[in-house]
Symmetry: D2
């Protein structure tokens, strides 16, 4: 409904005049800024900003905005991304046996909370194929064993290319991706069922129960080659007590997992997340 | 420790080029922006921003910044405030019989969390005089009855002038200020012991208990002539259960009240709060 | 999987020996208590308890437990309910146009989080019929106007009887039920999209936005003849800021609504909720 | 104000009739139960309960209650503690340089939130002596070096005996106690400034910042010989963002630390905490 906008996500060494230079670029070309946010990490000497403006009335055609901004960005040694709000990214959801995050993501996409398409579900189990069918989404069952993993990942990469996937969402996919896979397809968001860095790896709810914690959490993060060590996008927690068994933690955790994952995906799709030094700036 | 900064809080009708014009004013005069945040309220057609820059290296002397910015602000029909980070505002804390917020505010001021002075405590009861003495703060006991209220408020206004008070904090002051008082001294933050707009007015914990709520709250807001209807700065909540008596709600509430009030005071002292149409924008 | 249990929910005037008398009844008949919780409301002079024991090894047959306990309860002037854990209550979900709570309740029932059946969906709109069909649930579209309301409620009551419904869940059903309807079918849980008693009635998110609150909430409660005044079962909240439009409040609220409603329904289905004086004791 | 009560905290192997036997003991002696709560850990085969009754009207004199209950407890192989609500435990608060928890604990004790005396403060630094003096509490400065630690701990143990201390509270005491010390004085509550098991040991806020977490926490736990591994009594969290520097985490954390520590101390003083297998049951 809203008129389309362009968004620049920029990070560069901090220096005087950055806000003015970037704002001037947009103003000089007739753009109306609808959202501008910045952050300076003094210890890293880094300036980071997100700036969004209406394309209506903007004098540069879309295909020229990037090259035009490049002329400004280069002397600033800036890293930058340009996004248009009417783009419709294509998501692949990867699952194992649990369906709560899958259901939730599909519901949000169907109800317009995510501006995205979900053409592909990949799973190492056949269990959730019926859900895929129910919603008319292609489902590829790709079982993984230690022996077949390398070969299967090649298949998976081919599928991502074939379906022109922009973002992979590991929605309780209980397999570790190889460093090589991540290098070839680096845009991956995972939901981990603990309050990282507590309980990385396997069985976090069992370990939380054993430790007798009074609060459990969930963490959505970008995937890197180090398991559960990638940049954190969003976390949330819920209170538990001695009355909660491991099964109760799992049940309460599911409510956390789906909402934390959904918030992270939405922030990413709205181009509100900037990564640097294994951290995120979230321009929410 | 940090070098002093200047901060502009600006609100004006939305239009193209505002970010650029304001950023240019600072950049052109050699300023280094350390924090910039903006908000556009599309339905109100209003642009609001907070911009903070280092005074070191800034070419305009302090006393010229205001007049110089006025030239930019006037054609934009902007409301604006200019603050310097090394200013030390003077606070008056008003209390009745409860000491938890008073203690907390004094501790935060003493420990450097607030950059402010607390030269004056006013109370309608004598009870907390000993705390004032313990910390070397002047304590004025000004009892209020229906008959004496008008006369006593005149005394109170005189004290605020005498002590050159910048901000009044109602830290569980259990009297309503008259509209006339507020007109004469409008910078007042109150802590109300409920999750407004639930339970305005008297005895919110008793009423929360009677209603059987599962969560209670506290609200810090600017005081206006309408009781508990002023712009909200900060709120927070805590879970309660059927096991909690009214006394438990009061006790749990105290922990909320002091932290919610302290956050609001700190945000105000850092010039992070902008008020419009009975709402606040908090550039946190 | 667990062996079936019996649960007594009891409230009676407080007096010495209540715990002993009730525990003895179970122990004397060979029962093993797996959960016992009690609460004394001193101001109301009321003792409330929930006690659950294994039926395996219990010497009284199911149909005798009630009459046998009646002999103990009568002299204590106790109100009590007896439930068996292997009962499968039948739920009717009432909706209007929004699907998030409906989807969520169905998912939880399908995944075993609720031990219940959902044979019936009633709506005053046709919109969600496709979801009902997708999951094989009967959908009755019963439009309501001021003129037809009385007649339509008679139809609705007939449906509840026909489908042998135990509990009605108003899952964003945007119509007020008449006092007469509630008298005839009193077991109704509603989700209200505000932190009651703030913003009862219509359009709570719009009013929360207008008031400039910093936190929004949702409330699940039993329905009584007084709109949004029934006993509260569960509430939860989420933080908002000036950046959140009314649409953002609605979106964030949906996540609250479904989880708050689901928790309340689950507590009710597990017979953990006791109502007295318009309040609930939740033996969680 | 309330009439005094007795409280039994009991844990024993689970078996039929436990609730009845314990309730009968109290009822048979004329006691009125004001609070009873129980928990069964099915996997550990353990039954745990807290039962509190009024001493007024109870037929056994205080000094006989223990021996009388012993006769019941022994065949059940029960561990148990008996406490009286009018006991006034004596606390020693241990600090280093930070004053926020100390101030808070003193304020709560002074305002009646804790039923306890605070006759002793021990510190490895002289800094907080002035606060002790202000509130009339003995302050012992006992500096610790690697070389002097063993000798100084002997002094500290002597002080605990001399002041007849019941509970040691490590209120940001930045030294590790030796296993030998803990063996000799095992009742110690510590506040750790992280959400354990995340960031045990030194500098949790710096490490939380480096990891880029979106939520920080605090944990109150009983001290054991394993650093930061003791049974957790209470935890809480607060949201942070990329805008928060390490100093902001420290500041936000202080508010958490004092409230989490205070809740844990209060729960302990009210005899609501039972420890087993390095976990706590909190009968709140």
């Amino acid at each position: 409904m809203a008129s389309p906008t362009a968004t620049l996500l920029i990070s560069c060494p901090d220096q005087r005049g950055l806000v003015a230079k970037i704002a001037n670029f947009i103003y000089a070309n007739g753009g109306n800024i609808v959202h501008a946010d910045q952050h300076t990490d003094a210890s890293a000497g880094l300036f980071l900003t997100r700036i969004e403006w209406e394309l209506e009335g903007f004098n540069l055609p879309r295909e020229i905005i990037g090259p035009a901004f490049h002329a400004i960005a280069q002397p600033l040694e800036a890293n930058w991304e340009l996004h248009f709000s009417d783009a419709v990214p294509r998501l692949a959801i990867w699952v194992s046996r649990q369906d709560h995050c899958l259901f939730d993501l599909i519901w949000r996409q169907r109800s317009g909370e995510f501006q995205a398409e979900i053409p592909l579900i990949i799973s190492n189990h056949p269990d959730l194929g019926a859900i895929a069918e129910q919603f008319g989404i292609d489902y590829h069952h790709i079982p993984i064993t230690k022996e077949t993993k390398a070969a299967q990942e090649i298949k998976e990469l081919a599928l991502l290319r074939q379906y022109q996937i922009d973002l992979v969402i590991l929605a309780k996919y209980m397999q570790v991706l190889s460093a090589d896979f991540i290098r070839q397809f680096p845009l991956i968001i995972n939901i981990h069922h603990s309050f990282l860095p507590a309980f990385p790896g396997a069985n976090p709810y069992h370990r939380a129960y054993a430790r007798g914690v009074k609060i459990i959490g969930a963490t959505a993060h970008y995937v890197t080659a180090d398991l559960d060590e990638g940049p954190i996008i969003e976390q949330d927690v819920v209170r538990v007590s001695h009355r909660d068994s491991v099964e109760d933690l799992v049940r309460k955790g599911k409510d956390l997992e789906r909402v934390v994952l959904a918030r992270a995906v939405r922030l990413h799709l709205q181009n509100r997340v900037l990564v640097y030094s294994n951290r995120t700036v979230v321009f929410a």
